[in-house]
C-alpha cells in the first residue's frame, strides 16, 4: 500500500486486518511524518517512537493470533494532552504539570488500548483547554498546516493539526465550548462533540465538568464514526456517564440519506460577525442539502445571543473550582518551598508561576462570579439562561430533525492577532457554545475554502441529546456530495508542508 499517511483510518484498518500492511509499518510511516513536519507544525507535546513501535508490534502479534477484533486495530492515534496516560507525561498544556506522569489511564485510553489503537503521543492544547487558538499553551503555539502563520483553532489545535498535517489519521479531542469543532472547522477536518455523558470523562483533567465532553477527530465522517464507537459507552467510574446502549454510528454514516429530513437553519447564527466567505460556503451547503432531498427551514433560537455571556460565567466558575486542586502539594511543580514558608504562600507562588495568563484570568473571573454578593447576579443568572437556551433547542427540535450553522464565524486568523483581546477571542465560540450548555451533540465538517483567503470553512450539524447517529447520517450525505464535486476530500488541497 502506498502513501500510508494519506489513507483513512478505515482503509488502514482494513489493510492491516487483511495483513496487506502491518500496524508497525503504518505506525513507522506516521512517526516518520511527525519527525519531518512537526518541528514546523508543533502539534505534539510528547512522542515516544520506541513505545509506539513496540505497541504496534504487540498489536500485530495479537492480530496474527486472531486475538483482536476491532474496527480500528493497528491504526495510530494522537491524544489530547489532558487525557491521563499512565507513566506518560500529561501536562494539559500547562507548566504547572510539567514532568507529571499520571498513575492511571483515562477510560478512553484503556478503551483505545483494548481496541488495538496505537498511541503516537500527546497533542498540544490551550492551557487546561482554555482558548480558541492553542496560543495559550505553556509550551508554545501549534501552527495551522494550511498556513503556518495561522492558528489551528483551540483548545484542541494540536489534535486537529496532527490530522490535517497527516501526522495521524485519528485524534481524541475534548469539547467544552467548541474545542473539537472549531479546530476541525479551521483545519478542514471533521470533529464530533458527542452527547454529554456519551463518552466517559474519567481521567480527563476537568475544565468545566458540566460542559466537558471528549470526542473523535479525523479527516472524514466515517473515521469519526468508527472512533466514536470505540470510545463511547457507560463507565462506572464517571457518575455522569449515560447508562444506555451505544447506537451504531457506523451504520448511520453508511446511511448517507437526508431525503425527507427537515434541517433547521438557526437565524441567530448567520448574520453579523460572520465572514462573507464563511456564509457563502454555508449557503452553498444548504443548496446541496436541498438537492439531496432535505427541506431547509429557518428556526429562531432567541436566547442564543446570551449564550456567550452565560458560558463565560459558568465555565470560569466551574474551572476556578476544578483548578483548585493544582496547589503544588500532591502533583506537578512546587515553587518557593521552604521551612519558613506557609502552605498558602507556597500554593500562591506555585499557581502564580505555573498558570498562564488566560487560566489566571478565568480563575479570577470564576472566583468573582461565585463570591458572596455576586453569586445570584452572575452565576445564578447564567444558570437561568442555560435553561432558556435548552428550551430554545427543545422548541427547534420540535420543528426540525437537525440544526445547522457555520461552525466558526471566521476562518483561521493569524497567530498573535487576538492574543491580547480576550473578548474578541471568546467570540470564536459563539456558534458552538449553546450545544455545550444544553448537553446535546454536534459535528463540524469541512464544506470548502473561503474565496477571500483560501482557508477551510466548517459547517456545524447539531442533533438532540442521544441522537448522535443523525450527525453521521447527515454529515456523510453532505460529505459524499461534496467529494463528488471536489473529486476528493478538501484536506487533499492542503499544502504538502
Amino acid at each position: 500500500m502506498n502513501d500510508l499517511i494519506r489513507q483513512s483510518a478505515a482503509t488502514l484498518a482494513g489493510a492491516i486486518a487483511r495483513k496487506e500492511v502491518s500496524s508497525e509499518e503504518v505506525t513507522r510511516a506516521h512517526l516518520e511524518r511527525i519527525s519531518q513536519v512537526d518541528e514546523r507544525v508543533h502539534a505534539f507535546l510528547f512522542v515516544d517512537p520506541e513505545a509506539s513501535i513496540a505497541r504496534a508490534r504487540e498489536v500485530d502479534q495479537q492480530l496474527a493470533k486472531g486475538a483482536l477484533s476491532s474496527p480500528l486495530a493497528g491504526v495510530p492515534i494522537a491524544l489530547k494532552d489532558l487525557l491521563a496516560t499512565k507513566g506518560v507525561p500529561t501536562t494539559c498544556g500547562s507548566r504547572i504539570l510539567e514532568g507529571w506522569k499520571p498513575p492511571y489511564n483515562a477510560t478512553i485510553v484503556n478503551k483505545l488500548h483494548a481496541a488495538g489503537v496505537v498511541s503516537l503521543g500527546k497533542t498540544n492544547m490551550d492551557e487546561f483547554a482554555m482558548g480558541s487558538s492553542t496560543e495559550h499553551s505553556g509550551y508554545g503555539p501549534t501552527h495551522n498546516p494550511w498556513d503556518l502563520e495561522r492558528i489551528p483553532g483551540g483548545s484542541g489545535g494540536g489534535s486537529a493539526a496532527a490530522i490535517a498535517s497527516f501526522e495521524s489519521p485519528l485524534a481524541i479531542g475534548t469539547d467544552t465550548g467548541g474545542s473539537i469543532r472549531q479546530p476541525a472547522a479551521v483545519t478542514g477536518t471533521v470533529g464530533v462533540k458527542p452527547t454529554y455523558g456519551g463518552v466517559s470523562r474519567y481521567g480527563i483533567v476537568a475544565l468545566a465538568s458540566s460542559l466537558d465532553q471528549a470526542g473523535p477527530c479525523a479527516r472524514d465522517v466515517m473515521d469519526t464514526a468508527l472512533l466514536h464507537s470505540v470510545i463511547a459507552g457507560h463507565d462506572p467510574h464517571d457518575s455522569t456517564s449515560i447508562n444506555a446502549p451505544v447506537p451504531d454510528f457506523v451504520a448511520a454514516a453508511l446511511n448517507a440519506d437526508v431525503r425527507g429530513m427537515k434541517i433547521g437553519v438557526i437565524k441567530e447564527l448567520q448574520g453579523e460577525g460572520f465572514q462573507s466567505g464563511v456564509l457563502q460556503r454555508f449557503n452553498q451547503s444548504l443548496e446541496i442539502l436541498t438537492e439531496l432531498g432535505a427541506e431547509i427551514v429557518e428556526v429562531s433560537c432567541p436566547h442564543f445571543e446570551y449564550a456567550l455571556g452565560a458560558y463565560y460565567l459558568i465555565l470560569p466558575s466551574e474551572a476556578s473550582s476544578n483548578l483548585a486542586r493544582f496547589d503544588g502539594m500532591r502533583f506537578g511543580i512546587r515553587v518557593d518551598d521552604g521551612d519558613d514558608r506557609s502552605v498558602e504562600e507556597v500554593m500562591s507562588a506555585t499557581r502564580e508561576k505555573g498558570f498562564g495568563a488566560e487560566v489566571k484570568r478565568r480563575i479570577m473571573l470564576g472566583t468573582y462570579a461565585l463570591s458572596s454578593g455576586y453569586y445570584d447576579a452572575y452565576y445564578g443568572q447564567a444558570q437561568r439562561i442555560r435553561t432558556l437556551i435548552t428550551r430554545d433547542f427543545v422548541a427547534a427540535f420540535s420543528q426540525v430533525d437537525v440544526l445547522v450553522s457555520p461552525t466558526s464565524p471566521t476562518t483561521a486568523f493569524k497567530i498573535g492577532e487576538k492574543l491580547d483581546d480576550p473578548l474578541a477571542m471568546y467570540l470564536n465560540d459563539i456558534a458552538t457554545i449553546p450545544v455545550n450548555l444544553a448537553g446535546n451533540c454536534a459535528m463540524s465538517l469541512p464544506i470548502g475554502l473561503a474565496p477571500e483567503d483560501g482557508l477551510p470553512v466548517g459547517l456545524q450539524i447539531i442533533a438532540p441529546a442521544m441522537a448522535d447517529s443523525l450527525l453521521y447520517q447527515v454529515g456523510s450525505a453532505l460529505e459524499s456530495a461534496l467529494i463528488d464535486r471536489w473529486g476528493g476530500l478538501l484536506i487533499s488541497e492542503a499544502p504538502s508542508l
Partner: protein, 104 residues
C-alpha cells in the same frame, strides 16, 4: 486605586480575588486584570436583563442522581504509583509546608 465600576471591579477587589484564588499576582497583573475583568463583565451584563427569577436554573445538562455500587473492596493506587509525581514525599507521606500560623 481605580474608580469602582458598576460591577464592583477595582484594584482592591482584584487583589482580594487573587488571595481567594491563591494567586500571588504582580502589580502589573493586578492592573491588567482590573481592566480586563471590567471589560469582560461589562460585555456580558446583558444576561441580567433576560431571565426572570421564575426561570429555574440549570446546573447540569442531564438529570444527576447519586450513583451507588456494591461495597466491595477493589485494589487502589499504591504508594509507588504516585510517589514519582509528587513534588515532595517523605516517610510514605506527601511532605507539605507548615499549615498552621505559628513560625517554626
Amino acid at each position: 486605586m481605580t474608580d469602582s465600576a458598576a460591577n464592583g471591579i477595582d484594584q482592591d477587589l482584584v487583589v482580594h480575588l487573587g488571595k481567594l484564588a491563591r494567586l500571588e499576582l504582580t502589580d502589573l497583573e493586578v492592573e491588567h486584570y482590573t481592566i480586563q475583568l471590567e471589560q469582560i463583565l461589562g460585555a456580558i451584563t446583558s444576561i441580567s436583563e433576560v431571565a426572570a427569577a421564575d426561570i429555574p436554573p440549570t446546573s447540569h445538562p442531564i438529570p444527576l442522581e447519586n450513583v451507588y455500587r456494591e461495597d466491595i473492596a477493589v485494589p487502589g493506587l499504591l504508594h509507588e504509583d504516585f510517589v514519582p509525581g509528587a513534588p515532595s514525599f517523605e516517610d510514605d507521606r506527601f511532605r507539605v509546608p507548615r499549615i498552621l500560623g505559628e513560625s517554626t
